[in-house]
């Protein structure tokens, strides 16, 4: 076997390495230094964010009258949004993680995650110009839809289970979504028709929104915007629970749903709670949808049929015009500080709860 020229302890290559050793060491130190600077910058930024809010926020007399309605508005928007997003997001997550065929899951998950990327201004536009006027005319129908939806789905499902031949049922396992589309659309149509009928019968006054741009519209659109957050995080939590857990229960005769409800959901619960908290935090801070479709009237009430003005929207509206160092500016920053603190708190809570989930999963 050919072997190249014998190596002495100082070959030309060793000399070359020796020559470059200094430059290489300098480069290494340079990288280390720039990394350190980057880290310090970030630390500075993380500290500067709350610091600048704290430094400029002012508690001028009468601040409650200005800030509290804004805070109430933010909460109202976020609560309604989560009321919409939680059933949709959690339901979809349960379906995706536990019942959907893998091919479906591979499509649905990125699809909803893509939906998360839709710019808020686009959703706000649709909410303000299309959804709000339409919903103002069909509040009754929408109420009927809300009430009728769950029972219709449940009844259709149980009828299917009782009546359809088992062979069909097996074929449709994992494709129940298609089955549900028909009752969904029928409920929509029925609710619209019934709503119009009631309205024509003079019952419109029962649920007459004060303004088309109200809490209901915000709840729906902001809910849709937040739904992917809740979906994505709770899907991850549910999917991470080992499948054997459910299979064991099913082997004992539990149905798929019972296995999920009694076993998987409790295990994944911290993840779902974290998803809820993060979704709420996102809804609190979301600006454009609320800015465009809420009417921006500062009110202290919880009705879905009245408008609202949130801290975030108020900041976008008033901050560009506020003169630095004025009382108005101080109050704006006070409200921003409140928002910042709330979001921070929610995030920290979510992180803690998620840590619990991780430990629990390691235990399994």
């Amino acid at each position: 076997m050919p072997v190249p020229a014998p190596a002495s302890s100082v070959t030309p290559l060793a000399a070359r390495f020796a020559q470059r050793a200094g430059a290489r060491a300098r480069r290494e130190r340079g990288l280390r230094a720039s990394l350190g600077i980057a880290a310090a910058l970030l630390a500075l930024l993380a500290l500067a964010m709350p610091a600048f809010l704290l430094a400029s926020a002012r508690l001028t007399p009468g601040w409650q009258d200005i800030v509290l309605p804004l805070l109430a508005g933010s909460f109202k928007a976020a609560v309604y949004a989560v009321l919409v997003a939680l059933p949709l997001g959690l339901g979809a997550a349960i379906w995706c993680a536990r019942f959907a065929p893998p091919a479906w899951r591979a499509v649905l998950k990125p699809l909803f995650e893509l939906f998360e990327a839709v710019p808020a201004v686009v959703l706000g536009l649709i909410a303000a110009l299309l959804l709000a006027p339409w919903l103002a005319r069909h509040v009754l129908g929408f109420a009927i839809f809300l009430v009728a939806l769950a029972p219709t789905l449940a009844i259709t499902g149980s009828i299917w289970q009782r009546v359809a031949p088992p062979r069909w049922q097996r074929r449709w396992v994992g494709r129940e979504v298609w089955l549900m589309l028909a009752p969904l659309l029928l409920t929509c149509a029925f609710a619209l028709w019934a709503g119009d009928w009631f309205a024509a019968a003079g019952l419109a006054a029962l649920l007459q929104p004060q303004t088309p741009w109200n809490g209901l519209v915000i709840g729906l659109m902001l809910g849709l915007a937040v739904m992917p957050t809740i979906f994505s995080l709770s899907e991850d939590a549910l999917f991470a629970v080992p499948a054997d857990l459910a299979l064991g229960a099913q082997a004992l005769g539990a149905t798929r749903w019972q296995a999920l409800w009694r076993l998987l959901l409790p295990v994944a619960a911290p993840g779902i709670v974290a998803a809820l908290l993060l979704g709420f935090s996102r809804a609190l801070g979301e600006t454009m949808i609320v800015l465009m479709a809420s009417g921006n009237t500062p009110l202290l009430d919880a009705s879905p049929l009245t408008g609202l003005r949130s801290i975030a929207a108020n900041l976008a509206l008033e901050a560009p015009e506020a003169a630095p160092d004025s009382a108005h500016y101080g109050l704006l920053l006070l409200s921003a500080l409140l928002l910042f603190g709330l979001c921070l708190l929610l995030n920290a809570m979510a992180e803690t709860v998620r840590g619990r989930l991780r430990r629990r999963l390691v235990g399994l």
Partner: protein, 273 residues
């Protein structure tokens, strides 16, 4: 016979008159949770092949990685004792890690070529030396590939991705990559365990050929392999080096009962396959 103060059972005067490539004295190594090496004494002579045998988890790999200080990469890993590489203290503050690692090449259990072309893989270390001339790079790449007995197989595929080579070729490519920077010692961590029998054979021939110029410390699970290629063999158990001798004597007439048990047990096991 027993091991006193970590000094292995070893015939007196065995390595007299031989230069030492590597030397460990009272070497202990602790990971965060457990002790991996316990007062190990080992001497590896120059331009010989020394095999390190022992059951899984006995600390062979940990010992190997003390000689090029790759253990430094593991968080919570503490080393005590004396490690000399080519006569220099490896753990001294003045030791330059890059230079130490250049002089002590390493081949891993799994072939780990970079996701680049065959030629670029071999040229990696040369570029670190600041060599830019195409001509010189080509010459040195060719020499390294010849030394690793790979040149004839890849001379027409130098531009292809290294990941397209077979596992055996990848392992020799990795050796060529290590040889290119002109090391003096080669550490090999079960280098043939992922290879098929024919590739293993070629690989062993290569190791024997390398012996002419390099000091080789080879960790292996395969007794026959140790018997075929190694001049000396060291036996480790539970973080301690128990016996060191010429390969012939270790396999025919070990001094310790434990060594014999391990070797014969293994022999029977692999003989039955």
């Amino acid at each position: 016979m027993s091991v006193v103060d970590g000094v292995p059972a070893m015939p007196t005067g065995l390595l007299d008159g031989l230069d030492l490539a590597l030397e460990a004295r009272g070497l202990s190594l602790d990971y965060a949770q457990r002790r991996a090496l316990d007062a190990v004494h080992l001497q590896v002579p120059r331009q010989r092949v020394t095999a390190l045998i022992g059951s899984s988890g006995c600390g062979k790999s940990s010992l190997l990685r003390c000689f090029n200080r790759l253990n430094d990469e593991i968080a919570g890993c503490r080393v005590r004792g004396d490690v000399r590489v080519l006569g220099l203290d490896a753990y001294a503050d003045t030791t330059s890690l890059p230079e130490l690692r250049r002089r002590v090449g390493m081949v891993f259990q799994k072939p780990n070529p970079f996701p680049q072309s065959v030629a670029e893989n071999v040229a990696f270390g040369l570029r670190l030396a600041g060599i830019r001339s195409r001509l010189e790079l080509d010459d040195r790449v060719e020499a390294a590939l010849r030394a690793a007995a790979l040149w004839d197989e890849v001379r027409d595929r130098l531009g292809d991705s290294a990941l397209a080579l077979s596992a055996g070729q990848q392992q020799r490519l990795v050796i060529a990559r290590a040889l290119a920077v002109e090391p003096e010692v080669l550490l090999m961590d079960e280098p043939a365990s992922m290879l098929d029998p024919i590739s293993t054979l070629r690989f062993e021939e290569l190791v024997v050929a390398l012996r002419e110029r390099y000091s080789v410390l080879l960790v292996t699970h395969n007794m026959q392999q140790a018997a075929r290629v190694a001049d000396y063999t060291a036996f480790m158990q539970a973080g301690r080096l128990l016996e060191f001798d010429t390969t012939d004597r270790i396999f025919t007439n070990p001094r310790l009962r434990g060594t014999e048990d391990y070797i014969t047990g293994r022999m029977r096991e692999s003989g039955g396959q």
